[in-house]
């Protein structure tokens, strides 16, 4: 597993993440992210989607440290952290987002592990992963949130023991696990108004050193929490012509938290509707029909509103779509509903790396 690519660690086989240790950082790998999304309901009945993401990017291979001047400045670090936060106001169809960027030094940003608690933070944004709950905090001039997330199911390791193939060769892969059902309570501040909310969140944590294969232009990622207490994750790696590469796959989590790997052959997905961003000019799919053949799941997925585009010029420089979606359909004969989040990358420009 600890094989070198350009001096970085490579993911080549099962990761067998253990917790709480693997909630923490994995320096040596080029990129790593902690991804929280969720759909929330206020007492008033207003609905909100939220996103909070922390990226870690290692700028140079670990052995580059040997060439550092001695003594080294406290500012000297290999790690840069980026953060994206967003709130989708589903009533007003208004999407707000903000970003952060900082080097991992002098307590300005970092990933700290103390006993069983892991904290990922940039300035005053943070995600604290404790034994029984996660706490998310983000604050911007426009909005803020302070949420408490309690896992209803244990972490799910995707692929083979957390080893998630993202390409044709073994090292085109990441270590990837999710917490698919996090019961969420807390407050949002939006337009200067503080509202209490509750709902469901999803957490992804993934790390890798590999960049995407040259012919992959981007990916579509789906996370859905179904009303029958199951969850579905799907990632589609797209080629230029829109074709999906064979490594595209997914995971189904049943009521008991047991996961089932879904391969390319297990699902059919068709985009039904597209939307052109007035900001970037990118054209995104915003409604889909999804069929999971082995599980007899039929879903019609639709973006809760179209303009949930993230433009992150000041941190990662990437333009992508990350938005709250709803779905209706059936599992076998039973009707089912779902809430979730979809991430669409590579529509504005080729998506190569977060930085």
């Amino acid at each position: 597993m600890a094989e070198d690519t350009d001096g970085y660690l490579a993911v080549t086989g099962p990761c067998h993440q253990t917790f709480p240790k693997d909630h923490g950082a994995h320096p040596g790998y080029r990129i790593e992210w902690w991804y929280y999304t969720g759909n929330l309901l206020a007492e008033s009945g207003d609905r909100y989607g939220f996103q909070l993401t922390f990226f870690r990017n290692q700028m140079s291979p670990s052995n580059a440290v040997k060439a550092w001047p001695r003594p080294s400045s406290a500012w000297r670090t290999q790690q840069i952290l980026a953060g994206h936060a967003a709130i989708s106001d589903l009533n007003k169809n208004k999407h707000r987002h903000a970003e952060q960027l900082a080097r991992e030094s002098l307590g300005m940003a970092g990933i700290a592990q103390q006993a069983s608690e892991t904290t990922v933070f940039i300035k005053d944004w943070s995600a604290t992963i404790g034994a029984n709950s996660h706490t998310l905090k983000a604050r911007t001039a426009e909005f803020a949130f302070d949420l408490k997330l309690q896992p209803a199911k244990p972490p799910v390791l995707h692929g083979q023991g957390g080893y998630s193939r993202k390409g044709s060769t073994a090292e085109r892969a990441s270590c990837y696990y999710s917490l698919t059902r996090l019961k969420t309570t807390g407050t949002l501040r939006i337009d200067g108004k503080v509202v209490s909310v509750e709902g469901l969140s999803w957490m992804d944590h993934e790390y890798s050193s590999a960049s995407l294969e040259a012919d992959i232009v981007g990916w579509d990622w789906f996370s859905l929490q179904l009303s029958d207490q199951t969850e579905l994750m799907l990632y589609l790696l797209r080629k230029e012509n829109g074709e999906l590469i064979p490594a595209s796959s997914g995971t189904f989590v049943n009521r008991a938290g047991i996961s089932q790997h879904l391969t390319r052959e297990d699902f059919r997905i068709t985009a039904l509707k597209r939307w052109k961003s007035p900001h970037s000019g990118a054209v995104y799919p915003v409604a889909w029909r999804l069929t999971i053949l082995p599980l007899a799941i039929e879903l019609s997925i639709v973006a809760n509103f179209t303009d949930q585009e993230m433009r992150t010029a000041a941190s990662t420089g990437v333009i992508y779509w990350e938005g709250s979606v709803s779905a209706t359909g059936s599992v076998g004969e039973r009707p089912v509903k779902a809430d979730g989040y979809v991430e669409l990358t590579g529509y504005a420009t080729d998506y190569r790396a977060p930085l």
Binding site: A67, S72, S73, A74, A102, R103, L106, G107, M108
Partner: protein, 862 residues
Amino acid sequence: MKMLLFFLRLFIWFSLRNMRRHMGRAATVLFGIALGAAVFTSVRLSVNASLDSFSKSMDLIAGQADHVLTRPGGYVPENLMATLLNQEIMQSASPVMSTYTRVSQADAEPFLLIGFDPILDRPMRQWRVDDQSGQQGAAWLDLLKEPYTLILGKPLAHQLKLAPGDSLILEHARQKVRFKISGMLEPNGLALAESGRIAITDIATFQEFTGLFGKVDRIDLKLVSSATSKDLAAVEQLLPEGIQLNPPTATRESGQMMIRAYQLNLSILSFASLFVGMFLVYSLVALNAASRRHELAVLRATGASAYHIFFIFLAEGAFLGIVGWLVAIPLGHILIKYLLHGVSQTISTLFVRVQVDALSLSVYEIVFSFFVTVGISVLAAYQPAREAMQVPPKEALEISQLGMQARISPRQLAFGGLGCILLVVPLSKLPAILGMPLPGYLAIFLLFVGFALLAPWALVKISHILSSILLKRFGIPAYLAGRYVRDSGTRTAVSVGALITAVALFTALVIMIFSFRQTVAYWTYETIKGDLFLTSKMGQINRFRYPVPQPVIDHLQNYRSQVDLLPNRQFFLTYDKFPYVFELMDMQGYMQYASFFWLKGDPDKIRPMLKGGEGVVVSEVFSNRTGLSVGDFFEAQIEESYVKLQILGIVRDYRTQGGAVFYSLPHFNKRYHPVYWGGLRFFFKDRSQDLDAAVARLRTDIIDRLGDRVDMYSGKGLRGAVLRIFDETFAVTTVLLLIALLIAGLGIATTLSVLVLQRSRQLNTLFALGASFRQIRSMIFWEAAFLVVIGELAGVICGFILSYLLIYVVNRQSFGWTFIYAVDWDALLLSIPLIIITALAAALPAVKMVFRRPPATLLRER
């Protein structure tokens, strides 16, 4: 509109055509006023260019910051960053460090290296990497990723003939390091600071290069717009002792203040040229009004109102002003080439470092110079215009031309003049207004006016006294000349006034510069003592913010047997925006070899107290600017200590970047906190040996043992450099002075020519009475001699008074210092006869002009 058109036509018919008929006179006056305007404008533009460049650099470097954290004389701990960034009111915070460094090669010019976190800095300052590939991120990411990489300003890269990918070796106090160039800055925003002679690097690299770990020069803050003063106070609560939260403008303002004071001084000096030009305008307009008196009467008789006449003459003044200003443009263009460099050089050596590469044409300055030039020209025309409008129309009937009768007698004028001069005394005692010696300048103006008003009376009196002597000793021409000057009234007085002004300026500046130089020389030799001075590499330009490296200090102990080592440390601080240096030194050692230049306080009493660390001595400038004097307490935050010490005495000090406060280094270490050595000086114990050779030996030995790690100056070289800088500074002044004299010469030439032309009838009568050409020419020459000598005499007297004003009022108020009054008799005794000869030479065209036209034609004309 019709009115204006008519007036314009009348002006062309009546005035312009007349000027064309007397082209020579008008051209001379125009040239004079143009020269004055050119000097005035180009001086102001030159200083403005420096001021602009300085302010722009400061603004670009300060960026969007609305507050800045500093520790006076010290550094801000970097671990404040996380706390600051977590404040809700903090929109962004960026630590900044900067230093002058240079490429390690002979004669390399220092440039500014700025270190910051490229990520934190992005909201603060505008800078972009010039990158054709569009990979904007790559170059600045390299700064973070790779140690010892930097991005160069384009002009700097071009000067060094380097491109991205190349490397260069930079040297600094601590070490020499090879840097890799990862990019160039697009020429906008920050990249324009210091005229592009800058480089940016990551703050980590900066600290590793300079050895300043754990601290930064300052932290720039940008608060959210909703932040209140209460929020700000809450942030201040978080700061450790001695860290100050200020608007970013403080350093800029103190720099601007110094440049502005200098600008005002140069403006006034250059205004003198314009002032002398004003005399020229006056003399021409007055001449026109007088010699065309009959025409004026006819104009009035044919229906012109008195105001028509008045405005025609005002318009003559305005016309001379406007055309003069236009002619000044090409003249100024030439002048400015010289001045731009000279002025920015002076400002850099005297006040703050400025890099001027281009003239910034400020619309304000152009408009200002236009209105000043036209304004003084109109002002100069006012009096003649008033006189002209009094011409009664009935004179049209009279054939005889009486000429203008002075309505005010010389005696009355003299009283007015005396009044002006007397006003000088109280004015010179008034304090400066807004830090500018405005009452002093007014006093100077009144002094000039006063002497100009005294001139007619003096001419009458002196020629009266002299005429009999002249008759006896020099014959009838001299006698007639004396009588003529006596009776010529105010007209000749005007050009004498111009000469007085120029000569007075000359005399006063010769005295002031000499006093200044003598005093500075004495100060230099008495106080800048030491056989060899040593600082960290580039210590001087970086204001000793980097310690002399410890291994160097350790090694220097080996020389203890032959030399005394006197360490010192300077802190550059401000006292209510007024910049000063707080200098810690080994008082015991210092006073053994050198001494202060005492101004106030009893040296014998103060010396032991100073050695015992009981208080400080402050410079005259510091005392004048802060109002603190002997017995008061000097208080300041210096690094982490709050210092409060009694002022024991005041000493003269001529460092140009503000004031100075001196205290004992060992006592500071004991009482407050230990400080590093910023530099030190060596004194050889054996004073009988060949000191130059000993210094050279010591220097070579230090370089052999330590390598090129420190900067060293021999005391002799340093003292020479101080005086050289002084002389360079006054080069600009000297040029301005010479131009004022030149304009005064023009004045003499015009006046005399006009006097000759006006009196052709009288001269012809003399000729008819049997005077020879020779006698008549000799008479004209005597008249010239009269005017010149009297002008010079009065000018010298006025100059002596003026020199007092300059030294004890203007210098004290604008720079805070005074000098020991000393007169450069040699220079004056040599130059004043020279000026007389030059002025007499200016009279030659007039003498030649007599009888250029045959006397018969003159008789026919009326």
